[in-house]
Each structure stands twice: as structure tokens, then as C-alpha cells.
């Protein structure tokens, strides 16, 4: 347990007015991006990162934590108003919240979303605060073998958990890992796939790549859609107090909140699965165990409570593997890991010993920003009428401009913009053809660690693959990875056989 001195130091870091102001502004930005249909929480973070590059570590992390949490809640607003989920994490219960709106219970739906998101977020942070230091102590004994398996587990989950088509997800992951090999080889210093380009020697810059994948590709999709359908929307009228009746709903569903939050944390902590999968799964579980499953999807608050607790709890959960092992739980934490490296706070168990005040400051930021969600969320709901009127044809070019200057700022040259454009086009084309893009970013982030651990282990063991299973934890993790692969392949073969018989 942390000493009082460390907690005091962390408190000093967090209560700096500059940190609080940054969190507030980033939160407002997250609210805006999350509330705009089509723009995701990952995009909010991707657009913020170039700014965080110029900040100290604590305000930088405060900005990211605040923006991602707020964006996930704000995604519920257009879901309830227009039946368009603002972020994929709100898609699971969009039908319920929209039907509630049609029944004249909009305030009840959004008030419940907001309060339950806040409670779910706090439970997620509670688990993060308890579990992360314990896991870190355990992880101190890890060698390259355990880290190799952990990285492999992270990469495998990216394939099997996050996508409907494992083959395409696998190809996306191979692309990410290949991009990570560009530049000087970490073990021998040989330039790889640089084609004589000086700029490529340092490798593919992670942040311009991510801006391309998550922001520029989204802009491309957005401008194409502009022509396909009308963008004017009718909004239902809404007034009155936001939190009326919400207390009663929260009191009637403590089990749903607890279940949704715990599922959210667990799924969030799983590498490759984030808030959106957490929301879908907890909605399904809620329906399965409900006494009134037939009411789901017709404007019922029960599933909404489960799923909106889960998606915000997943935010805290996804930081557990990121902080303890340096393995991202989802695409936002993949970005976080990049930022942590940039700030010299190399994620992993040693950061808990060397800089515990920074880790505790991160925990406190989580609590502060989650509590901040209530007033900010209230403002966002009240302002939604105006925000949602900003037409995409105005918004998308502005986002594109931010992408361009953000990518430039990362390399201080147009090389950043070139990377962003190339990878943005790749991401757009891939998503058009059913390839998920999150595995690319996981491959790009985990690639260097994966290769370093793999090469170190191979050289240590002189190429003996059995050495990867000699230590007990490594063996356990290795068996886990093999089981995931084995079961998935078996499932695919059975599925094909069943389809053929059918």
C-alpha cells in the first residue's frame, strides 16, 4: 500500500489548477466529439495527443482520461435524441434509450445514463486502484518469456475477441506488426524496409499513424456519406430537470449496476476488447438474467443500466494491463502507452516502484474526471440541441485541419502528414472491405515489445522453443495462448462443417 507521503505528492500533482483546467477543457472537448455521431472516443483522444505532446505527464494523462471517459458518456446523447449512437460504445442500448425518448422519458434515459456511467466509472477505477499495484508486484518477477507470452496473448485477443472475422483481423494485425518492423532493428541495428528513406530510419511514427487510422479515415467516410443521405434531423423537444426519478432507478437496480460494472472492468482489462464489447456483452447478460427479457429493446431501463455502467467501467479496466504490463486493453490505451513512452514514464511494473506518485496521481485524475462527468454531462445534455445542429459538412473539414497540423507537430515536418495520409487511406480502404483497424494499432504498439522479448528469449535459450514453457507462469500463459488459438481454430472448422452440412 502506498505511504501517506506518496499520496500527498500525488495529490499535489493533481490539484494543480493547470491540471484541473486541462481536464475540464479536454472533458468538454471529449463531450463534443462523443456527442457528434460518427466521431468516436478514440478519435477524441487521437486529436488530443498532439496537444498533450507539449504538456507535462500529469496534465497530458488528465486530458486523455477526461476526454475518453466523457466521450463515452456523450455518445449516449445522440443515441437517445436521434437514435444514432455517438460512439460505438453506446450502440448496444440505443434502441431502449430512443424508445424512452419517444415515450417522453428522455430526461430519465439520459439522467440514468449519466449517473450510472459515473458510478460504473468509479467502480472501474476502484478495481484499477486495488488490482494494478498487486499485479505490478507480481509482474516484477516476470522475465522476457512471460512478457513474450503476455504480448502474444494481447495480440491473440486482438484477433479473436474484437472482430467477427478472425482471418481479416489477423491480416490487420500482421500489417500492424509489419509497420512496427520498419526502421532500425532493435537487436542488430540493421535498417529494415526503409527503402533508402532517411525519415523512415526512426520507424513509423505512432501518433501520425493513429491520427490517420482513427481520425482521417473517419473524415473520409464522413464526407462520402454526406452525399448519400440527408443530414438534417428532427429533434424531440426536451425540458425539465435531468435527474428527476433517476435516484429511484439507481436504487431499484443495484445488482445491474454492480454486474455491469464488474463485467465492464473485466472485459476492459482483456487486451483487444474495450468499452463497446463490454456494453454489448453486459446488455446480453442483463437480458439473459432479467425477469422481463421481452421488454428489452422497447424502452426498458434495465439493460440500459447494465450496459452504460459497463462501458464506463471498461475505461478503468483497460488501464490495468496498460499500466502494469505495457499492453493495451483497447485502442485508447494503445494511444496512452505511446504517450507514456513519449513522457519517459515507461509502462510496466517498475513504474510503480520508481514513480509511485505518478501512478497514484493517475488514479486520482480518474476519480476527479469521473466526478466531473456529472456537471459536464448535464451541460452537454442541455447544450445538445445546439451541438447536434453543427452540420457534418462544416465539422469534417475542421477535423481534417486538426489532423494535418497535429500530424505535422509530431515530426515537425511534412513527413508526419505523409504517414498520416498513407495510413489513413489504408485504414479507410480496409474498413470498407471488412477489415477491423484496431489490430493495426495494437500491432504497431505491441510490435517492438513483442519482437524484443521474442529475440531476447530466442537468444537466451539458443533457439530452444521448450524454454518458453520452462518457468511456471510462462508455461501457464503459453498454454492460455495455445488454448485460445486451438479453440478458435476448432470453432472455425466446426462452423464450416456445420455450414456445409446445412
Amino acid at each position: 500500500m502506498a505511504s501517506f507521503d506518496i499520496i500527498l505528492q500525488a495529490l499535489q500533482l493533481v490539484l494543480d489548477p493547470q491540471v484541473l483546467l486541462t481536464a475540464l477543457l479536454a472533458g468538454a472537448f471529449g463531450m463534443f466529439v462523443g456527442a457528434m455521431p460518427g466521431l468516436t472516443a478514440t478519435m477524441a483522444v487521437a486529436l488530443l495527443v498532439p496537444l498533450t505532446f507539449f504538456m507535462d505527464p500529469i496534465p497530458a494523462l488528465a486530458a486523455i482520461v477526461s476526454a475518453s471517459g466523457m466521450a463515452i458518456f456523450a455518445g449516449d446523447i445522440p443515441g437517445a435524441l436521434l437514435r444514432i449512437p455517438g460512439t460505438p460504445a453506446s450502440a448496444a442500448y440505443v434502441e431502449d434509450s430512443y424508445r424512452l425518448t419517444l415515450q417522453g422519458r428522455l430526461n430519465e434515459a439520459l439522467g440514468t445514463n449519466l449517473i450510472v456511467s459515473c458510478i460504473g466509472g468509479l467502480i472501474g477505477i476502484g478495481v484499477l486502484i486495488v488490482a494494478a499495484p498487486m499485479l505490478a508486484e507480481f509482474a516484477l518477477r516476470f522475465t522476457s518469456y512471460e512478457y513474450f507470452w503476455l504480448a502474444t496473448l494481447g495480440l491473440s485477443c486482438a484477433i479473436f475477441v474484437s472482430s467477427g472475422d478472425p482471418l481479416k483481423a489477423g491480416i490487420a494485425l500482421l500489417i500492424g506488426l509489419t509497420l512496427a518492423t520498419v526502421g532500425l532493428d532493435p537487436t542488430t541495428g540493421v535498417p529494415r524496409f526503409t527503402f533508402g528513406q532517411q525519415d523512415l530510419l526512426a520507424g513509423i511514427e505512432f501518433i501520425p499513424a493513429m491520427i490517420g487510422l482513427f481520425a482521417l479515415a473517419e473524415v473520409m467516410r464522413g464526407v462520402i456519406r454526406l452525399h448519400a443521405k440527408s443530414t438534417t434531423v428532427d429533434m424531440p423537444p426536451y425540458n425539465g430537470p435531468l435527474f428527476k426519478g433517476v435516484g429511484g432507478i439507481v436504487r431499484r437496480h443495484p445488482k445491474n449496476i454492480a454486474r455491469g460494472s464488474l463485467m465492464g472492468v473485466l472485459i476492459g482489462a482483456l487486451p483487444g476488447a474495450g468499452a463497446d464489447i463490454a456494453a454489448w456483452m453486459s446488455y446480453a447478460v442483463s437480458k439473459r438474467f432479467s425477469r422481463t427479457p421481452q421488454k428489452y429493446g422497447t424502452g426498458h431501463v434495465e439493460g440500459l443500466v447494465d450496459a452504460s455502467a459497463a462501458n464506463n467501467a471498461a475505461v478503468g479496466g483497460s488501464w490495468i494491463p496498460a499500466l502494469v504490463f505495457g499492453i493495451p486493453g483497447d485502442s485508447v490505451t494503445a494511444i496512452v502507452i505511446g504517450v507514456l513512452y513519449m513522457k519517459g514514464m515507461n509502462p510496466g511494473p517498475t513504474v510503480f516502484i520508481q514513480n509511485p506518485q505518478l501512478i497514484y496521481a493517475v488514479f486520482m485524475i480518474f476519480i476527479v474526471t469521473t466526478l466531473m462527468m456529472v456537471p459536464l454531462g448535464w451541460t452537454a445534455v442541455k447544450a445538445a440541441k445546439q451541438v447536434l445542429r453543427v452540420p457534418p459538412r462544416v465539422l469534417l473539414p475542421i477535423v481534417m485541419s486538426l489532423c494535418i497540423v497535429g500530424a505535422f507537430a509530431m515530426t515537425n515536418s511534412v513527413f508526419g502528414i505523409i504517414i498520416m495520409l498513407a495510413i489513413g487511406l489504408l485504414g479507410w480502404l480496409m474498413e470498407e472491405n471488412g477489415f477491423p483497424v484496431a489490430p493495426i494499432i495494437l500491432g504497431l504498439v505491441l510490435g517492438p515489445m513483442f519482437e524484443r522479448m521474442f529475440m531476447t528469449s530466442m537468444i537466451k535459450s539458443n533457439g530452444d522453443l521448450l524454454a518458453f514453457f520452462e518457468r511456471p507462469i510462462a508455461a501457464g500463459l503459453g498454454i492460455c495462448v495455445l488454448l485460445i488459438w486451438g479453440l478458435s481454430i476448432l470453432g472455425a472448422v466446426r462452423g464450416r462443417r456445420a455450414a456445409r452440412d446445412h
Binding site: P50, L51, F54, L167, K168, G170, I171, L174, L177, T178, T181, D185, T187, T188, V190, R192, F193, L216, V219, M220, V223, I224, R225, L226, H227, A228, R393, V394, L396, P397, I398, M400, S401, L402, C403, I404, V405, G406, F408, A409, N412, V414, I417, I418, M420, L421, G424, L425, L429, E432, N433, E451, F454, M455, M458, I459, G463
Partner: protein, 157 residues
């Protein structure tokens, strides 16, 4: 733009083969059997296997369903293509012209063109382009000291 899995699979198969050939030319590390080529070679084999699987799966499905090898989606046909090209052209203009002419003029002109392509009224397009460009300049070049190219405005700014 929809490209069939068979074509994409073929592409990944070729990509894997080229990568494998490239990796074979990476110099080895003295006395060490594992070097810079190991992971890229494994990835290349992965691409080749996945490519073949994609081709086979698509050909099997195609036997029953059929369909073209390459197809433009409905929204690209409905006028989405110029908008997409305007976005790509905009970013490309920044890459080629910004170091020569400077960020401010390139961004104002390119953004105005993009807003016009998205059917905004001309005066709204120009005002928004100038406003967005100046805001980005103020935030990045002013506050964050990012050396956005000044081009011919170097003496003035």
C-alpha cells in the same frame, strides 16, 4: 471501394513473398542464427498463408454467389467520390505546397475548396476556411511553438 477478398488475398500473398525476399537480404548478426530477418520472415509467411486462405474462402463463396471483382459502393457513385478526392487532395496539397508556399495560404485555399466541394455557400466557405486556419495557426504555431512553415510570409510574420 469494395475489392473482393480474392483480389485482396492475392495482394497479401504477393506482399508476403516480396517481404520474404527482402528479409532474406537483411545482413545477419555475427555468430548469431537469429537476427533482423527473423520476425519479418515470420510475418511474411503469415501474410502468404492468410492471403491463400482469403483467396480460397472467397472463391468457394463465389462459386455459389458470384459478383464482380471490383465494385464502387452506392455512396461513392452518388457523388461521394469528388468529396473523397477533395479530402485526399487537400492533405496532399499540404504535403507538397506547405514547405514551399507556407501553411497559411495553402490551408486557406485548400480548405475553401473542400468546403465548396461539400456545397457550402462561397462566402461561408471562405470565412470558415480563414477562421479554421487562423485558429490552428494560433493554437499550434502560437501557443505550442510548432514550426509550421511560413513560406513567403516569413518576413511579415
Amino acid at each position: 471501394m469494395k475489392i473482393t477478398d480474392a483480389l485482396l488475398g492475392g495482394f497479401f500473398l504477393c506482399l508476403g513473398a516480396v517481404m520474404f525476399w527482402q528479409a532474406a537480404h537483411f545482413p545477419s548478426f555475427g555468430g548469431q542464427p537469429y537476427g533482423a530477418a527473423l520476425l519479418p520472415s515470420i510475418l511474411a509467411v503469415g501474410f502468404m498463408i492468410a492471403g491463400v486462405m482469403l483467396v480460397l474462402r472467397d472463391l468457394r463463396a463465389r462459386r455459389t454467389a458470384g459478383g464482380p471483382l471490383l465494385a464502387l459502393q452506392a455512396d461513392l457513385k452518388d457523388g461521394g467520390a469528388p468529396a473523397l478526392l477533395a479530402v485526399i487532395g487537400n492533405v496532399a496539397a499540404h504535403i507538397w505546397l506547405t514547405p514551399r508556399i507556407g501553411y497559411l495560404p495553402v490551408s486557406i485555399v485548400a480548405l475553401s475548396v473542400l468546403f465548396l466541394t461539400l456545397r457550402l455557400r462561397p462566402w461561408v466557405a471562405v470565412v470558415l476556411a480563414i477562421g479554421t486556419t487562423l485558429a490552428c495557426w494560433w493554437l499550434f504555431a502560437g501557443l505550442l511553438r510548432v514550426p509550421l512553415p511560413r513560406g513567403f510570409l516569413d518576413g511579415v510574420l
